[in-house]
Amino acid sequence: MDLALTDADLAFQAEVREFIDTYWPEDVRRARATSSRFEESRGHSPEVRRWIDALNERGWAVPNWPQQWGGTDWNPTQKYIWDKETAKAECPQLSAFGARMLAPVLYTWGTDAQKNEFLPKIREERMIWCQGYSEPGAGSDLAGLATRAVREGDEYVVNGTKLWTSGAHVADWMFCLVRTESGAKKQEGISFVLIDMKTPGITVNPVYILGGIHSVNEVELKDVRVPVENLVGEENKGWTYAKGLLTHERTGIAGVARSEVQLARLKRIAQETGMDGGSLWDDPAFRTRVTELEVDLEALSVTELRVLAQVAQGGAPGPESSILKIRGTEIGQAIAMMTIEAFGYYGMPYPEQTLIDNEGPIGNPYVMPTMKGMLYGRASSIFGGSNEIQKNIISKAVLGL
């Protein structure tokens, strides 16, 4: 039992750091972290493109994929180092829907044609995906979805409405859960299909999130014709594939490294925020609360390591990895709220973009991205299986209740 890194690990860490310093240097980081263009910062600037190209060239774009599709042979410690270092430098990640959500389904259950067609484009971020799961009547109860696909010859005809579809307005393709058989148990009769967003019959309506952020959408599907070769795996087995995903990569979902960055930033902001002639950081009450969060986060980071160690020994992360999602989102939200609190009155300004472009930020330059992140982050405990659902899962699967 020990936490020490081997010499090989340390060498790898140095290599990673050098790579990051080259392709995602300090000045780029700061500019991105203080950008008030929250939504755009999720898209592709030239700096991001350069980073992704460099990743692909180095073979580090998709460390967790099978090697034959561009993955690495890293051991769990190396993966951990990679996650930690890239998070610390706030490096951009490949769009999660393609690289983390869809790809595992494809390389596990896809046809060769599907793999050859899609995996390279995802890896190079030349094809952006969105996820068509939730619907107006199917949120936490995902299996209650009503979008219907009826087979007509070589095509499925899809009708229905998807909701909360992140990035549908910029996506090239959507992977989608549709009902192909009715009358069956709710979880049965669902299929997993890939839909080109340029197909006639698709309408994307923006849903503005608090703070005017456009990130999620409503996607209307009206007689959308999808070739049967875009079915993944077997018909009516889609729920199994999607559910497998939900426990997959759950470690990443804790957002430990990201929260560590945010917490360090919160401390810096508190040190730079004036209070009674000193700084907010001198205030024992505030400091105590930050320290409490720090302990919470450290505990979670070790819990994550424990889960990683299980995986390394060949085990799958058990349902107890749900802890990571629950505590991770709670901590992330608490850090965001406390950062807003640190700004004091300067948490309020929410100027139009043009005002910032012309005259610079108001108060602290981190306010706008923090505020948008805080507002957007309220979704973290709702989307992807709300924390209440996660607790139901633990109750059943771990405690046997």
Binding site: G274, M275, D283, R289, I382
Partner: protein, 376 residues
């Protein structure tokens, strides 16, 4: 011991309730906010006609002589409607300073205009370094003949964009953060050397960064005694704290009730989500937080009306602590229980959440008021 409203107070409450109910639905509010000024002059005129702008002012000044309880009644209802018109800025903050420190001439020049709705004001008290310390005033007022020259930066001045005049705190003597030596000045909105950078706030209001660059004012611009501005500020801000707290209580009421309603409608797993015991107890917690905040609101209002002093200050701080905690919990859980819908601009819930979050850091957060509560 009496928790009931007088007949006049009930009438006041009813008139606000009617307005919120009939004239201030969520879509109307959205349109108002999207306008140039971010609020409606029409509404403001109506506020004047209904007498709301006269509430806290003495009858000899044309007001109706309301106290803290009347302010509480008004703000609780404005909070229920998430009203964006700058009542707090003009009537409670700028008007409050005039009420407590103005001489006859100043009251004559400004209060009547406020009450009839023809002038709007703002209180410029915070500064970039000051956080919640009212004595932390770096803006200077240097004597200049009979008058003064003001220079400094006032931060996040609520209602700044629409202000015809400002009440500005500036240092006439003493060191940084001395309570003594702060003087309040009346400064015209178009005074030479005063510039504003206007912006919307995240919770739907408007505010300004106000820069004073050698603004000259006459001796008649001094509001109250020279060097004695801190005591006035403290009382005004305590009333304003009651006011935003009451606004939060109004917001919490909507949040918890709408959440209960939503939970009865929204079906998942074959039943209304309000049937799930975990959500039931969560809503009970929201209800309890709301009720506890309401209790502290009553206490603070009644204590302020008994007379301003240590007991009232403590009650106000206790209320703000409670509002900070309850408001956060209720706002966050309202969003959580509404699921994705709670996250949207389209539904009201998220807007209450934003306002509740901002109220937490207005006039001092929980830490600040806990300390103050423990000290007095």
């Amino acid at each position: 011991m009496d928790f009931s409203l007088s007949e006049e107070q009930t009438l006041l409450k009813d008139s606000l309730e009617r307005f919120i109910q009939n004239d201030y639905d969520f879509d109307t509010r959205r349109k108002v906010m999207a306008g140039e000024e971010g609020f409606s002059r029409e509404n403001w005129k109506q506020f004047a006609e209904l007498g709301w702008l006269a509430v806290p002012f003495a009858e000899e000044d044309g007001g109706i002589g309301g106290g803290a309880i009347e302010l509480m009644i008004v703000m609780e209802q404005l909070g229920r409607g998430l009203v964006v018109e700058p009542y707090l800025a003009t009537v409670i903050l700028a008007g409050g300073a005039l009420k407590y420190a103005g001489n006859e001439a100043q009251k004559g020049a400004y209060l009547g205009a406020i009450i009839e709705g023809s002038k709007m004001g703002a209180l410029a008290f915070a500064e970039p370094q000051s956080r919640f310390n009212l004595a932390d005033v770096a803006t200077t007022a240097a004597a200049d003949g009979d008058g003064y020259v003001l220079s400094g930066h006032k931060a996040v001045v609520l209602g700044g964009p629409s202000a015809d005049f400002f009440v500005v705190s500036a240092r006439t003597s003493g060191g940084p953060r001395d309570a003594d030596g702060i003087t309040l000045f009346l400064v015209d909105g178009d005074a030479a050397g005063l510039s504003r950078r206007d912006y919307p706030t995240v919770d739907g209001l408007r505010a300004s960064e106000v820069t004073l660059d050698g603004v000259k004012v006459g001796a008649d611009a001094v509001l109250g005694t020279i060097g004695g501005g801190h005591a006035v500020l403290e009382q005004v801000i305590d009333e304003a704290t009651l006011a935003v707290g009451a606004e939060a209580v109004g917001g919490m009421e909507v949040c918890y009730k709408d959440t209960v309603e939503y939970s009865k409608q929204r079906v998942q797993f074959g039943q209304p989500i309000g049937k799930f015991q975990v959500l039931q107890h969560r809503m009970v917690d929201m209800f309890m937080e709301y009720e506890q905040a309401k209790s502290m609101m009553y206490l603070a209002a009644m204590r302020l009306d008994e007379g301003y002093g240590a007991v009232a200050k403590k009650a106000v701080s206790g209320f703000k602590v409670q509002v900070g905690k309850s408001g956060r919990f209720v706002g966050q859980q309202a969003v959580q229980l509404h699921g994705g819908m709670g996250m949207t601009e389209e539904l009201n819930i998220g807007h209450y959440f934003k306002r509740l979050t901002m109220i937490d850091t207005t006039f001092g957060n929980v830490d600040f008021h806990l300390k103050r509560y423990g000290a007095v």
